[in-house]
């Protein structure tokens, strides 16, 4: 097969781009196969494991828990097709978070915030466009929302399951993505059904949420069964995952409303994240 790999100059351009604090989404069946020993590959938080089969690699993909793709289950892929399913590399993590695995438990994508949270990258060994939309519950447009929030450097990202049915209820993971300068800091997640502006000032931070009854409910129920890990400590990388669990159906009146989340660093309150929305649908 013809080698269309990156030239040395292109590889350096990508390295420089990331080192400047910018973000890259990269996909390619053979990016690892051709570049596993090049410095550019180490920028994406993964280790190459294998080249995959000539065809018949990815039937479906599932999002990994506690990552950007939490809640993305059984996304069909264009299996056995030239070219998206040819020699699809499989990988393991090397500093990054594995976000997608295929049906045989091989890892196919990773997100990475750089060695010290200095940039954002997503690397997929499969073609984004070869995933099949799975109706309203998980489709490529929703996945792109989570990808873009991560690539834009948001420090609060609601995972791909950014909609919850009030009829069925459900869970959503909230990713807190600061950097190592916040390691060990206590944080608290806040939320509001009343929008993000004007918000209010607290400590030396501006909190992009309007106070309402839901805001008060959340701040008085941190770490309950519904609001797991809503107040805890950021890990050594300055990261954490909190989980909302509706514990069953919600009041139908919530349908069509948006619950925005943000988190603050505490003791002292000197940082507030961006707001990130979770939609309630019928």
């Amino acid at each position: 097969m013809t080698d269309y790999s990156l030239t040395a100059g292109q590889q350096q351009d990508l390295i420089d781009f990331l080192n400047a604090g910018s973000s890259i989404y990269i996909e390619g069946n053979d990016f690892g196969y051709y570049h596993k020993s090049n410095p550019v590959y180490s920028m994406f938080g993964a280790t190459y494991v294998g080249d995959g089969n000539a065809t018949g690699n990815v039937q479906n993909l599932a999002g990994e828990d506690d990552t950007l793709m939490s809640g993305a289950q059984q996304i069909a892929y264009t299996y056995g097709s030239a070219y998206p399913d040819q020699y699809v590399d499989y990988i393991t993590a090397n500093g990054g978070d594995l976000i997608f695995k295929s049906q045989e438990q091989r890892n196919r994508a990773v997100s990475y915030a750089g060695p010290n949270g200095t940039y954002r990258a997503i690397y997929a060994t499969f073609w984004f466009g070869a995933m099949h939309d799975s109706g309203a519950t998980c489709n490529k447009a929703m996945i792109m929302v989570a990808y873009m929030r991560y690539l834009m450097g948001d420090t609060m990202v609601v995972s791909v399951a950014n909609e919850i049915s009030v009829t069925a209820g459900g869970t959503a993971d909230l990713l807190l993505e600061a950097d190592a300068t916040y390691a060990g800091r206590t944080y608290a997640v806040l939320g509001s059904l009343s929008g993000t502006t004007p918000g209010f000032n607290f400590g030396s931070a501006h909190i992009p949420l309007n106070m309402d009854a839901v805001f008060n409910f959340i701040r008085t129920h941190w770490n309950s069964a519904m609001l797991a890990n809503f107040q805890a400590t950021l890990d050594a990388s300055g990261r954490a995952v909190a989980t909302l669990n509706t514990m069953g159906p919600l009041n139908p009146a919530y349908a069509g409303k948006t619950l925005n989340f943000a988190w603050i660093a505490m003791n002292p309150v000197d940082y507030a994240s961006n707001p990130s929305p979770l939609k309630f649908v019928p």
């Binding site: 890259i24 996909e27 053979d30 051709y34 069909a76 264009t78 097709s81 984004f128 929302v145 873009m148």
Partner: protein, 86 residues
């Protein structure tokens, strides 16, 4: 009058430049024209089709190129779509 207009335009440029830069997206189409059947019925499409469609669906604008520009500084998010064999 011209000076006043120039001053206003300069001020606007300073105000608007950071807003535009904050979501300046470059899509590098490096899939060397491999196509496949779009699972959503779009016919034969290349590897960038699904990415650009999802970006557009979410209101993002982007610049798409087939050759990586020498200067990437105008952009802060790069999509590298490599297809197969690279």
């Amino acid at each position: 009058m011209r000076l006043r207009l120039l001053a206003i335009m300069t001020a606007l440029a300073f105000l608007l430049a950071p807003m535009a830069l904050s979501q300046s997206i470059l899509v590098w189409d490096k899939d060397h024209n491999l196509t496949f059947q779009d699972p959503e019925g779009g016919g034969q499409v290349d590897a960038t089709y699904g990415v650009t469609k999802a970006l557009t669906a979410n209101g993002y604008t982007f610049t798409k190129v087939t050759t990586l520009p020498a200067d990437l500084s105008p952009y802060n998010i790069l999509f590298v779509i490599m297809g197969s064999y690279c």
